[in-house]
Symmetry: C2
Subunit: 411 residues, 2 copies
């Protein structure tokens, strides 16, 4: 199940000049499905990335952090095996993979960013990796440019328990010139990113200083990939990387008057990609936006939003369309906000006032609550009445299918 938006159409995904994509089937875990993606970038490209804060972070994440400093010009992504919890051998395998790709593309191994996603505690099947890389680079070398359809294949090649590929584009005018942005993401479970999602990639043909790109990513990540949760489990492999190829010939800095246009388009794209992960959350039947306002700090607004977004009781009530809304109050109550005055809080469901003055609103009726809960897109609005900060978190409900999917994931 899912609350996916319609499948992205290949034609809606804009090619990005200055890069070449190649998705292949390497048979890493299952055969006859795209499970490896190689992206090669032109020499003017700058890149920035944010990665999981999980202490048990995967070998490819360790390498990505190092390689980002070496002006990387290629991405290597595999699914089926996360290369996490694999110790020294895992780091060796990830580096070896970078080396194979670098050799084919005439790069240094440090110029390759590796990404893996899939089962933890298992080693990369290195023969399959080598053959897959060979297959992808042969195709790359024969390929003249990039086709829009290839972004859709790229999105397909990075899926694991996702039920559909996640991709989106934006086209904007900057200084009278047309600039394109295209991104893909993946993930449906083990989603509570703490820097980035499982995997997210964005590319643009704009030219950007690496430092400017990194700063923009940090801001956009906080408002997108770092504001979603499916099950509260922060992955070992979360990675979100952006590339600015500069192939459009246009360069931009935060001092340019057009910067806000680009920034907004970038954040919008990241939010669409992040929300796509929640919409495809394992077993999801509802897409839930939790908006907390009038908090003393954005930190406490997020604390309240995540307490609600992680509560299995709240999430099962959404699944059942049951307005058992005391569970939301309970979650607010244990969210850990110091000195919280519960009598000041207002709780709304798609605008319907549910609770105020520490209890049920006089105007609230069970019937109206049921109607609001029956929607497939629900906004939970909380007014703490104690400050001027706010936060938004996106999540989904908790269904039988979540249990089924995760009880059977490896089998």
């Amino acid at each position: 199940m899912s609350v996916n938006l319609p499948l992205p159409r290949a034609d809606d995904l804009l090619p990005i000049a200055g890069l070449q994509l190649r998705a292949v089937s390497a048979g890493i875990r299952k055969s006859n499905r795209l499970d490896m993606l190689v992206v090669q970038f032109g020499p003017t490209t700058t890149m920035a990335g944010v990665f999981t804060q999980n202490a048990f972070c995967a070998a490819p994440v360790l390498l990505c952090r190092q390689h980002l400093a070496s002006a990387p010009l290629a991405w290597l992504v595999n699914t089926g095996c996360a290369n996490a919890g694999t110790g020294e051998q895992g780091r060796f395998d990830a580096l070896q993979s970078c080396q194979w790709l670098a050799e084919s593309l005439g790069l240094q191994p440090e110029q390759v960013l590796p990404f893996s996603t899939g089962v933890i505690l298992e080693h990369l099947p290195m023969q399959k990796m080598q053959a897959g890389i060979q297959k992808a680079t042969q195709a790359l070398q024969g390929q003249a440019g990039t086709a829009g359809s290839t972004w859709l294949e790229a999105a397909q090649a990075i899926m694991t328990t996702d039920t559909q590929p996640k991709a989106a584009s934006r086209r904007i005018q900057l200084k009278g010139q047309t600039i394109s942005l295209t991104g893909i993401s993946k993930g449906a479970g083990m989603i509570r990113p703490n820097m980035a999602t499982m995997l997210g990639f964005v590319a643009t043909d704009l030219g950007l200083e690496q430092a400017h790109l990194q700063a923009l990513m940090a801001k956009a990540t906080d408002l997108s990939f770092n504001a979603i949760t499916v099950d509260g489990d922060t992955s070992t492999n979360d990675s979100f990387v952006c590339a600015a190829t500069g192939a459009s010939g246009l360069r931009l800095t935060p001092q340019d008057t057009d910067w806000p246009v680009f920034e907004q388009a970038f954040i919008d794209l990241c939010q669409e990609l992040a929300q796509a992960i929640v919409r495809d959350g394992e077993g999801a039947t509802k897409f839930i936006t939790i908006h907390v306002q009038c908090a003393k700090s954005s930190h406490e607004a997020r604390q309240v939003a995540y307490a609600i977004g992680h509560s299995p009781l709240v999430k099962t009530a959404f699944f059942a369309s049951d307005p058992n809304l005391g569970r939301i109050l309970a979650a607010i109550g244990y969210s850990g906000v110091p000195g919280l005055d519960v009598s000041a809080i207002e709780l709304r469901l798609n605008g319907l006032l549910v609770a105020q003055a520490g209890g049920r609103a006089a105007s609230y009726t069970e019937e109206a609550g049921k109607a609001a809960m029956a929607e497939s897109e629900i906004t939970v609005g909380i007014d703490l009445h104690r400050g001027s900060h706010q936060a938004t978190v996106w999540t989904c409900d908790f269904s039988h299918d979540y249990v089924s999917i995760n009880a059977d994931y490896r089998s």
Copy 2:
């Protein structure tokens, strides 16, 4: 489903001199089931209690905190309605209930401790409360003593989604005299106590200073009710209260050489009652003990244990008996322990070494992992190799039935 131990036998539950129990059917939510418990204590009784830290705590919890200072001599417990998220009206209703019981028993209203459990955001049905209190007190006045069987009825009267009553006793020798302790508890969902469980009650015929009882409770709670989790949801109504009636004629202080015997029996009893809640956790099919050792502090040991105990991915893997044990490493990794060296960590499952040196142990086999996961009682052992502190947390798995129970709870 559950991993309950055999039902407590009425004969195994020791009567406690100095108190009278009365469980009645007040028809608060459903008819023809015990849903109200009244306990009256003799004048030498001392009491202590710990309560939820949830900011949205229920009206009865607010009153309990106040009334504990007034030498209370009665408990009034109802199920079916939590009287939480009920604002000013809720506090009035709780106080009114105390007043009715106090009048019948010749006490002041402040000498009654009220407890409610059930649905949040609904008001107490006051007519039914009044009729139930009348029924209970009439019976109390006609009742000569207490029968062991009545503790089982008391345990039944406080159940909500529990599949079986939870009660236990201990008999110990102190200074050559026989002392009895009996306790009951309830709860199966919204269980991640932060001071106490949904409801827990312990009584002894020993005489104790109130301050000594309170200090002992704090210690025992940390090792029992505060070390369990079903779904990570801290309730609005958690209450754990103890009474020492003194009816045995024997008084004890922490300076007595026999104190450790009493303390151990008390902690044991609390642990049995707390574990009974996890064993009966909503939808539980496995009873899981998470033991973290060699941590730098007991705080960080608990952090790691709870990260594992709250992970829906870990809990669904236990449900499936699937040794997808990388999920445990991922949870350790995001538990937030600063400067964690993952290469030093050892992970064991019922003694079987699973992971070490940041990866899978060479000796580990999938077959052995599967066998360990197939047990209904599993100990997850984690050695952080960075200090001398430890913590134990008890939890259960996450099954389809958890979703069913919580999607349908109110209907």
